[in-house]
C-alpha cells in the first residue's frame, strides 16, 4: 500500500464523516418535522433551521461518491453494484426529501403541505436507516467473487446486525437533529426537543451495547484489531455520556458537538475495521484490498493536489454560510 492510497482511504473516511456529521442533523431535523413539531409554525421553524444548508450538506455525500470513484474505482464498482436495491431505496428517499422543502413551500392546501412533510420525514428516516444498514452489512462481509462482484442473498443485506446498525444510525441522527433544533430554535420547540432527547439517550445506550455485542460476533474487528476497536467503541460510549450530560445539564453546544462526533466515531470504527481492505468478503481471499482497488499513482497524485487546494477554499465559504445564518429561528 502506497502513502497516497492510504491518504485516500483516510480522505474517503473524512468525506463520509463530514456527510454523517452534517446530513446526520439534516436527517434528524427531517424526521422531526413529523414528530417533534406539532403546529404549522413549528414545522416551518424546524425546516428553516436547515433551509439554507441541507443542500450543501448533501454535497458531502456526492463528493464522497465521486472521490471514491476517482480514487478506488474497484471499491466503488463493487459496492454500488452489489448493494443495488438498498441504494435504489436510498436514492428514492433522498429524491423525495430533496424536492420536499421547495415543493412544500409552493403548496396551498394543508393536504399538499402534509404530503411533502411526510416525504421529508420518511425520506430522512429511510435514508438514515438504509445508510446504517448498508455500512453494517458491508463490514459484516459479503459473498464476493474473485472479480470483485457481489452476488448476495436477502439475508446478506437484511440481518439482525444490519437492522440494529440501521436503527442505531437512525437514532444517532435523530438525536443529533434534536440537538441541532435545541441550538437553532426558541420557545416550546427548543424545550420539547430537550425533553424528548432525555429518554432517547437511554435507549441509545442500550442500542450501542447491543451493537457492540453484535459487532463482536458478526465482524472480525475485535479479533483483528482488538485494541483500536475497543478504544473507538469506548469513545463512542463516552461521547454519548457527554451528550447525555449536555442534555441533562442543558448545555446545547456540548450535546450537539458530542452527537456529531459520535457519528464520526462510527465512521472511524467502520474504516478502522475495514483497513487494509475496502470490501470484506466472506471468503477472506476475495476481500478487496486498498492496494488493489485504487487508481494509478498519477491519478491519485493529481487528485491529491486538487483536493488539498480546493477543499480549504470550499470550507471557508461553507463555514461562512453557517455563520451568516447563526441566528435562532422563531416559530
Amino acid at each position: 500500500m502506497s502513502n497516497l492510497q492510504f491518504l485516500w482511504f483516510i480522505l474517503i473516511g473524512v468525506l463520509f464523516s463530514g456527510f454523517f456529521f452534517l446530513e446526520g442533523f439534516d436527517f434528524g431535523v427531517g424526521m422531526s418535522i413529523k414528530t417533534l413539531a406539532q403546529t404549522r409554525s413549528e414545522r416551518d421553524a424546524v425546516i428553516h433551521t436547515i433551509g439554507p444548508h441541507w443542500d450543501a450538506n448533501e454535497v458531502w455525500l456526492i463528493t464522497a461518491g465521486g472521490a471514491m470513484f476517482a480514487s478506488f474505482p474497484m471499491w466503488y464498482a463493487s459496492l454500488f453494484s452489489g448493494f443495488y436495491l438498498i441504494l435504489l431505496l436510498i436514492l428514492v428517499a433522498l429524491i423525495m426529501r430533496g424536492v420536499s422543502f421547495e415543493f412544500r413551500s409552493r403548496m396551498e392546501s394543508e393536504r399538499g403541505r402534509n404530503f411533502w412533510e411526510w416525504a421529508a420525514a420518511l425520506g430522512s428516516f429511510f435514508a438514515a436507516f438504509l445508510f446504517g444498514m448498508l455500512f453494517t452489512a458491508m463490514v459484516k462481509g459479503m459473498p464476493i467473487n474473485a472479480h470483485g462482484d457481489i452476488s448476495a442473498h436477502f439475508t446478506d443485506y437484511v440481518n439482525l446486525f444490519s437492522l440494529v446498525g440501521g436503527v442505531a444510525v437512525t437514532l444517532l441522527c435523530y438525536l443529533h437533529g434534536l440537538n441541532f433544533v435545541r441550538l437553532k430554535t426558541t420557545g416550546a420547540l427548543r424545550e420539547r426537543a430537550l425533553k424528548w432527547a432525555k429518554p432517547l439517550y437511554w435507549l441509545l445506550f442500550a442500542g450501542e451495547v447491543l451493537f457492540a455485542i453484535l459487532l463482536f460476533f458478526s465482524t472480525d474487528f475485535f479479533a483483528k484489531k482488538p485494541i483500536s476497536t475497543l478504544i473507538i467503541v469506548v469513545a463512542l460510549v463516552l461521547l454519548t455520556v457527554l451528550a447525555t450530560w449536555g442534555v441533562y445539564s442543558n448545555h446545547e453546544w456540548l450535546s450537539f458537538i458530542s452527537s456529531g462526533l459520535s457519528l464520526i466515531d462510527v465512521v472511524i470504527l467502520l474504516f478502522n475495521g475495514l483497513f487494509p481492505r475496502v470490501m470484506v468478503a466472506n471468503n477472506a481471499a476475495n476481500s478487496i484490498l486498498i492496494k488493489d482497488a485504487s487508481n494509478s499513482p498519477y491519478t491519485l497524485h493529481l487528485m491529491t493536489i486538487i483536493a488539498l487546494t480546493t477543499l480549504p477554499i470550499m470550507l471557508i465559504y461553507f463555514i461562512w454560510s453557517y455563520w451568516v445564518f447563526y441566528k435562532r429561528v422563531a416559530s
Binding site: D44, G65, F69, A77, L91, G98, E102, Y298
Partner: protein
C-alpha cells in the same frame, strides 16, 4: 429483456429527465443573475421583482436537477460497474472535481441567495446568484470533460497488466478538442432554454393581461439573451459539426441519413426515407449544395456514407476486439434529431427577432398580436426537445462504444445485477420521474398563475425576513 437493454434504457431515461432540468437551471441562473444585475445597476425595483419571481422557477428546477443528478453519479457504479473499473482512473477525477469545485459552490451560494435578501447589500446579494450561475457552468464543464473522453479518448494509455485505461496526461484530458466544441454548444443551449422558458411563460402572463409592464420587461430581457444565445448555439453547432465529420464520421453520416457516399457536390436531405435493414436511402427531398456548405463551408466535396465507414471500422476494430461487430448507429433517430435541433435553432432566432420588434418600447403591438404570444408560449417547451435531440445524436451516435474505440457498451454493464433488479429500478424511476415532472409543471403553472403580485405589492419599508414567522408560507 437483457441486463444490457434495461441498463441502456435506464441510462437514457435518467439522463434525458435529468437533462431537462440541468440546462433549465443553468439558463435560469444566468437570466436571473442578469435581471438582478440590472436592478443593482439601474436601481429599479421592477428588476428586483423580476429576479425574485423568475427565481422561483429557478429554485424549483434546481431542486429537481439536484436530486436527479445523484442518480447519475450512483448509476455508473450500480449499472455499469465494468465501465467504472475500466474508466475509473480517468472518469472519476472530473466527477470528483465537479463535486468539490462546482456542487459546493452552487449549493452554498444558492442557500445564501434564497435566504439572504435582507441580510446583504444589493451588490453582495447579486454576487451570490452570479456565483451560483458560475457554479452551474463549471459543473457543466467538468461533466462534459468526462463525456468528451468517452467521445474522443485522449491523454491515456491501456495498462497491459490490468487492461484498464489509465490517465497519462490530465492536461490532454482537459484540452480535449471535443470538450471545447461541446461545452459552448451545451452552455448556449442552456441559455436558450432558460431564456425561452422565461419568454414563453411571460407570454402566457401577457395573455392574461395582468401586470403587463412586469411581463413585457421580462420578455425583453429574456428575448435579448435568447437571441444572443441562439446565435451562439447555432454557431457552435456548426463548428462542432465540422469537427465530427473528421472525428466521428459515422455519427455525421447518420445525422444526414447517408448510406452511400454523397458524391460532389453534396445535396442536403430535408427529409428522407431510410431503410435501416438494408442500409439504403429509399427517397429524399434534397437541397443541392447545402450538405457541402454544412460540412465544409464550400460548394463541393464528397461526404462519406455509412456503408463505406462501416467497412473501415470493421477493418480497424474487428480484429482488435476479436468479434464481428455492427457499427451502424441508430440512423433514423439521429437523422430526425438533427432536424429537430436545426429547425428549433432557426425558429428561436426568428421568434426572438419578431418578439423584440413587437415588444419595442412605445408600441403595444405585442399585446394585440395574441397569436404570437401563443407561439411564444408554446416555445417554452421547444428547447427541451432540442436539447434532448442533441444528446441523442451525441450518445447514440457513439454506438457500439461506450468509450470510443476502447470499450463497447455490451462490455461495460454490471455482470452481477439481475434483470429483476434492473426492472424494478426502471419502474421506480419511471413512476418517480412522471410524478416529479407533473408536479414541476403544475407548480410552475401555479407560480405563473399567481403572478408577481405579492412581490409588487410588498412594502419596501417592511422587509421580508426569511427567518421570521411565516416566511415559508408563501415564499
Amino acid at each position: 429483456m437483457s441486463i444490457l437493454s434495461l441498463a441502456r434504457f435506464q441510462f437514457a431515461m435518467t439522463t434525458v429527465f435529468h437533462f431537462f432540468f440541468v440546462p433549465l437551471s443553468i439558463g435560469l441562473a444566468l437570466v436571473v443573475a442578469i435581471m438582478e444585475t440590472l436592478y443593482v445597476v439601474k436601481k429599479d425595483q421592477l428588476y428586483k421583482h423580476m429576479a425574485q419571481f423568475w427565481g422561483r422557477i429557478f429554485l424549483l428546477s434546481f431542486a429537481v436537477g439536484v436530486v436527479t443528478g445523484i442518480i447519475q453519479e450512483f448509476q455508473f457504479g450500480m449499472n455499469w460497474s465494468e465501465y467504472s473499473r475500466f474508466m475509473g482512473d480517468i472518469f472519476g477525477a472530473p466527477l470528483a472535481i465537479e463535486a468539490l469545485v462546482a456542487f459546493f459552490m452552487e449549493s452554498t451560494f444558492i442557500g445564501l441567495w434564497m435566504f439572504g435578501w435582507d441580510r446583504f447589500s444589493a451588490g453582495i446579494h447579486c454576487a451570490f446568484i452570479w456565483l451560483t450561475s458560475i457554479g452551474t457552468m463549471i459543473s457543466a464543464m467538468w461533466i462534459l470533460a468526462a463525456n468528451s473522453f468517452m467521445q474522443n479518448p485522449v491523454g491515456f494509455m491501456i495498462n497491459a497488466k490490468t487492461g484498464r485505461a489509465q490517465m497519462t496526461s490530465f492536461a490532454a484530458v482537459i484540452k480535449n478538442p471535443q470538450l471545447w466544441y461541446e461545452l459552448p454548444h451545451v452552455l448556449f443551449g442552456a441559455f436558450v432554454t432558460g431564456s425561452f422558458v422565461v419568454a414563453g411563460m411571460a407570454a402566457f402572463g401577457l395573455l392574461k393581461k395582468r401586470n403587463p409592464e412586469f411581463f413585457r420587461k421580462s420578455l425583453k430581457v429574456s428575448l435579448i439573451i435568447g437571441l444572443l444565445a441562439t446565435v451562439g448555439v447555432v454557431g457552435m453547432g456548426d463548428v462542432q459539426t465540422r469537427y465530427i465529420i473528421k472525428e466521428q464520421p459515422m455519427k455525421f453520416a447518420a445525422t444526414e441519413g447517408l448510406y452511400k457516399d454523397s458524391g460532389s457536390p453534396a445535396a442536403w436531405a430535408i427529409v428522407s426515407g431510410m431503410d435501416t435493414k438494408n442500409h439504403k436511402t429509399d427517397w429524399s427531398i434534397e437541397m443541392p449544395y447545402v450538405l457541402d456548405i454544412l460540412s465544409y463551408h464550400k460548394l463541393s466535396g464528397n461526404v462519406k456514407g455509412q456503408n463505406a465507414i462501416n467497412k473501415e471500422l470493421h477493418a480497424k476494430y474487428d480484429k482488435k476486439f476479436g468479434k464481428d461487430m455492427n457499427y451502424y448507429v441508430p440512423t433514423k433517430t439521429l437523422f430526425w434529431s438533427f432536424r429537430v435541433m436545426a429547425i428549433s435553432g432557426g425558429l428561436f432566432a426568428l421568434i426572438a427577432i419578431i418578439g423584440l420588434i413587437f415588444n419595442r418600447a412605445g408600441s403595444d403591438l405585442i399585446m394585440r398580436q395574441r397569436w404570437f404570444l401563443w407561439v411564444l408560449g408554446i416555445c417554452t417547451f421547444l428547447p427541451f426537445a432540442a436539447n434532448t435531440a442533441g444528446w441523442f445524436i451525441t450518445e447514440l451516435g457513439r454506438y457500439p462504444w461506450v468509450v470510443y474505440g476502447l470499450l463497447t457498451i455490451a462490455d461495460a454493464v454490471s455482470p452481477n445485477v439481475s434483470v429483476a433488479s434492473l426492472l424494478i429500478s426502471n419502474i421506480v424511476y419511471f413512476c418517480l420521474f412522471s410524478g416529479l415532472g407533473i408536479v414541476m409543471i403544475v407548480l410552475s403553472k401555479r407560480v405563473l398563475h399567481h403572478g408577481p403580485d405579492d412581490l409588487l405589492q410588498a412594502k419596501d419599508d417592511a422587509p421580508y425576513d426569511p427567518y421570521g414567522k411565516g416566511a415559508f408560507d408563501h415564499e
